[in-house]
Amino acid sequence: MLDFSLTSMLSSLFLLAEEAAPAAEGISWIALLNQALNGIGIVGILLLTGLGLAITFGVMRIINLAHGEFIMLGAYVTFVMQDFFKMDLLMTIPFAFIGTALIGAIVELTIIRRLYGRPLETLLATWGLSIVLQGVVKLIFTAELKYVRAPSYLSGNLSFLTNEAGTSPIAISYYRLFIIAVALALLALTMFLFYGTSWGRQIRAVTQNREMAKCLGVNTKLIDMGTFAYGCGLAGVAGAVISALKTVAPPMGQDYLVDAWMVVVTGGVDKLIGILAGSFLIGESNAIIAFMLNDPLARVIVLAAVIVLIRYRPEGLFTVQKRA
C-alpha cells in the first residue's frame, strides 16, 4: 500500500533519530540550561501575543483571524510614535494600547456586533478584516520593513556563571526579560479585571448568555465593545513590545496567528491562567526540541503534540466542568 503520509512520517522519524544521535553526544548540559532559560524569551512572546486572543476568543468566543493584524497595528503605532515624536519605546506602549483598542472598538461597532452567535461568520469577517487591515497599512506605510528602536537601557544580558575569559555560557538578554515581565504584568492585570471586578463578572455573563445578561441590567453592547477593544489593545501592546526585536511590515501579524491559537487552545480557553501554561509548554518544548534537533522539526513536533493534546483534552489543560 502506498501510504505516502505514513511512510514520509516514518522516514522523518528515521531522519529524526539520525539527527538526534550526533546532537545527543555533543549536548552540553550548560548549553541546554542556557537554551531552557532563553526559552523563557519565547514563552514571553507567546504569552504576550496570545493574551489578546485569550480575551477575544477565550472569553468572547470570537474566532478572530485578524488578531495578528492588531499586533501589527500596535507595532506601527510604536513606529509612528518613534518616527515622528522620537519617543522612547516604553513611552509608546500606552499609545499602542489606546490606538489598537480604538480601532478594535470601531471594528466591534461596525462588524463584530452584527455577528454575535454566529462564530463562523465572524471567522470569515475577521479574515476579510485582516486582508483589509494589511492592505490599508501597506497603502499608508508601503510594504517596506520599518525600523523600531529598542531602548538602550534594555540592551545587554543578564548572565550567570561568567568564566575567566569574561564570557558566560548562561545568559539572557534584558530585553527578553522585559518582554516576559510585561507579559506577566498584563496577565495579572487581566486576571484581576476578569475575576476580581464586577466588570469582569459582567463580561463573563454577557459572553455566556447575552440575552439573560441584558435582562439583568447589563449594557451588553458597551461590555462587548469594551472587551473586544481591550483584547485588541493587548494585541497592540504585544506588537509594540516585540517590534524592536522582530520586523515590522504589513504581513508580520500572520507569523503570530497560528502560534497564538495553539497557545490558547493548549492552555484551555476557559481560564485565563491556561494561557500561561500553554505558552510555557509550547515555548519551552519548542526551545528544547529545536535545540536538540532543528527549528522546522521542532515546529512540526510541537504542532503534532498540540493535535494529540486536543484529541485527549479537547478543551485544553485548564477547563471548567460542563454539563452536556
Binding site: 463573563r204 455573563a205 455566556q208 441584558k214 439583568l216 441590567g217 451588553t220
Partner: protein
Amino acid sequence: MRDLTVGYGQTPVLFDISLAVNRGEIVCLLGRNGVGKTTLLRSIIGLNQPTKGSISFGGQDITKAPTYKRARQGIAYIPQGREIIPYLSVLDNLKMGFAASGKKGNRIPSEIFDFFPMLSDHLSRQGGLLSGGQQQQLAIARGLMCNPQIMLLDEPTEGIQPSIVQEIEDTLKRINEEKGITVMVVEQKIEFARKLAQKFFIMEKGAIVERGSTEQLTNDLLHRYLAV
C-alpha cells in the same frame, strides 16, 4: 401596554394586545402552548421589539428603551428555561443582580437564603451544573437580587418538585406582600395560578380573550380556552 403587535421576522405572533397591571398585584397569564405568552413577556423586557403599540412602566414610556435599561428600572424577568449563566458560580450568578439593582455591595441579602435555603449549599458550584429544579430556584433568587418592582415569571414551576412549588408560591406571595413587588406569572398549572394570583388573563392565538379576577376564573372559561 397598548395595542402591542409583535412578531418574529415577518409573522406576527401577538395582535393588538392591551393590558394593564397595577402596582402590587399578582397577575397570571394563561393559555395554551404557542399562543404567545412567552413572547408577551419578552416584549415587556424588550427582547422582542413591537412593530406597533406601546409599553409603559411606572408612567414612563419604555417602548423604545433597551432591555438593560428596563431591567435597571425594575423589571425582572425569569425566563422559561431558566437561563442560568452556566460557567459563573451560583454566587456570581446571584451577584449579577447587582447590575440591575445598581447597588454596589458585595453581600447577598440574607433573605435570599431564607427564601431558597438550598442555594447556600451550592454557592461556589457552577450555575450550569445544578439540576433543572435547582436552576429554577436560582433564577428566581437572581430575579430578586435585581431589587425589582415587577417580576415576570415564565412557567416558574416547570420541573420543580412539589414541595418547592409550594415554597415558590409562598415566596412569591411574601415578596409581593412584604416588598410590594408586582408579579406577573405565566402558568400552566391552574391550581397554582388560582392560589397565587388575584387577576388573570387568558390568551388565545396572540390576543387576550378573557380577563378578570381569579374568582371569575370559572371552569367554563378554563374548558373553553385551556380545554381542561
